[in-house]
């Protein structure tokens, strides 16, 4: 990242420390997934509702995991989620 060019666009003169922290923020934000992967419906929204997850997985003949939630409820979740 050419910080000097960025400073010119932003019309700011910056200290080395600020420059370093800007690079860190950009590095952190760089981990955003490509649009085709992640944050899509599948990854962002596994809805742990017993009925929906179970029915859907059963229909697709997927492996179903069973676990007890912290609230003591039995949940069934397709492994694909």
């Amino acid at each position: 990242m050419k910080i000097i060019k960025v400073c010119r666009t932003a019309r700011l003169a910056v200290s080395e420390e600020l420059e370093r922290s800007v690079s860190r923020v950009l590095e952190w934000a760089d981990a955003l997934p490509e649009p085709k992967e992640g944050l899509g419906k599948k990854q962002a929204f596994p809805v742990f509702r017993k009925d929906d997850a179970f029915k859907d997985a059963e229909k697709k003949k997927q492996i179903i995991l069973q676990f007890t939630s912290r609230r003591g409820r039995k949940c069934l979740v397709p492994r694909s989620l």
């Binding site: 060019k5 955003l32 929204f45 596994p46």
Partner: protein
């Protein structure tokens, strides 16, 4: 006249009907002392008559004739020539006590990074009040005002409400006019009501929401949100957000909110969302929009100015000297992510991520009514304790859901951890039902 003296004078007018003079003076002195110690105001007014409940307005909202600095030195001396639509709606029914402090240009989650002094948490003066609308929350928690207006982009009303033990609502995006509000991220900014209880918030929302008249106002009808407030919702389904009850959320907060959520009389189940990615996407989009809107602060049109050999020198030295570190950091990040060579890598990807999140959340809410989780993942931190911006950004983990999707969300106090207030967050599909379920919870909570 000092801030506290002006406040004393104001309270003198407000308390004219109190009979006991000695008590009154003691009360005024106590309030003035608190205002001086906790610094919730950046400017206080001297009203000559009482029009209704007292109100504090965040310093990023324009009030005609009152200084508006956005708590930044670059705007020192700037006085707006018109009222923000939200304030114009309330000014006939409330008594303005002052402009409340906030993070400089609303850039922060602590509420303690104003250029004009540190605002303190009303429950522990060594801790932050939550941000960015920290002054509004502290003024309410100390009893200095009855109502307050804040602004919420990614949690700036709900975070201070949670940290300070008051109620704060982020209305649906577009419900309240943004005219007269200084932008942080215009695609997510909202003006939100704050009060000490849900009724106060509903009352204030009824005044500021809806109506038409300018380009930045929604075209929805005005509505009285207090009329149905006491009626419980007949059938409701609540989803508990899984990430709100596990690491990195403080386990003491998770246990408390989980217990309190049971008081909402509803059928419950759980969902899981990729929140960290949403926070990253938000910081990319916000920085890009913020850098663009901050271009106008060049020392020529508004506020203070520094000398320079050329026009460009003058602009650069003004901005460099008078903008805070966090504001500069966000401008630089915004300028970087919108550069032609990085646009696809950051900005476009982040916009798409937020759009997909929004659509998915709307689909999820078709089969449920509310999502419940803690408002903040931690207790208010000590002033100066967090120096790393990434750590502060991470505290927006749970408030970002509603912001990214443009949905209404409310923070209601639900108890304390370590003697510090904790907020329970309710996210819903429409403002009225969110207020009603919050009121229902508030009544259940107060039974104990």
């Amino acid at each position: 006249m000092s801030c506290s003296k002006k406040l004393m004078k104001t309270r003198d007018i407000l308390l004219m009907d109190k009979e006991d003079l000695e008590d009154r003076i003691h009360y005024q002195l106590e309030l003035a002392k608190r205002a001086e110690e906790y610094h919730p105001f950046v400017w206080t007014s001297e009203p000559d008559k009482v029009l209704g409940p007292s109100i504090g307005i965040k310093d990023t909202i324009a009030v005609k004739g009152a200084p508006m600095t956005c708590c930044s030195r670059i705007l020192q001396g700037h006085v707006p020539v018109y009222d923000a639509t939200a304030y114009a709606r309330v000014k006939e029914h409330t008594t303005l006590l002052g402009k409340t402090s906030c993070d400089s240009f609303a850039c922060g989650s602590s509420g303690a990074t104003s250029d004009f002094g540190v605002t303190r948490n009303a429950h522990d003066p060594l801790r932050v009040p939550g941000g960015s609308s920290g002054g509004s929350a502290t003024a309410l928690a100390l009893g200095l005002v009855d109502l307050a207006l804040g602004t919420d982009t990614f949690g700036s009303v709900r975070a201070p409400a949670s940290f300070s033990g008051v109620v704060g609502l982020r209305p649906s995006y577009g419900l309240v006019s943004r005219k007269g509000l200084v932008d942080l991220c215009m695609s997510m900014d909202t003006i939100g009501p704050m009060a000490r209880d849900v009724y106060g918030v509903a009352y204030l929302l009824s005044m500021i929401a809806g109506g038409k008249g300018d380009l930045t106002v929604s075209i929805t009808q005005q509505k009285d949100y207090t009329s149905q407030l006491e009626k419980p919702l007949a059938h409701k389904h609540v989803l508990l957000l899984k990430e709100g009850f596990e690491d990195p959320v403080d386990p003491r907060i998770a246990r408390l909110v989980e217990k309190e959520a049971d008081k909402i009389n509803a059928e419950t189940s759980e969902i899981s969302l990729s929140l960290e990615q949403v926070v990253k996407a938000y910081y990319v989009v916000m920085s890009a929009e913020f850098a663009s809107s901050m271009q106008r602060y060049d020392g020529i049109r508004y506020g203070k100015s520094k000398d320079g050999k050329t026009f460009e020198d003058q602009v650069v030295s003004t901005r460099t000297q008078f903008l805070s570190e966090e504001v500069k950091r966000r401008i630089l990040v915004g300028a970087a992510v919108t550069m032609a060579e990085y646009k696809e890598k950051y900005y476009s990807r982040a916009k798409k991520a937020i759009e997909r999140f929004k659509q998915s959340l709307k689909t999820t809410l078709q089969s449920t009514d509310f999502i419940v989780c803690p408002t903040m993942p931690c207790v208010p931190w000590k002033i100066g304790e967090i120096q790393d911006p990434l750590k502060e950004y991470a505290s927006d983990l749970l408030t970002g859901i509603a912001s990214a999707a443009g949905l209404p969300a409310i923070s209601v106090p639900c108890g304390t951890v370590q003697g510090l207030p904790i907020g329970l967050q309710i996210i819903g599909k429409d403002d009225e039902s969110v207020l009603r379920v919050a009121r229902e919870y508030e009544k259940e909570r107060d039974k104990e």
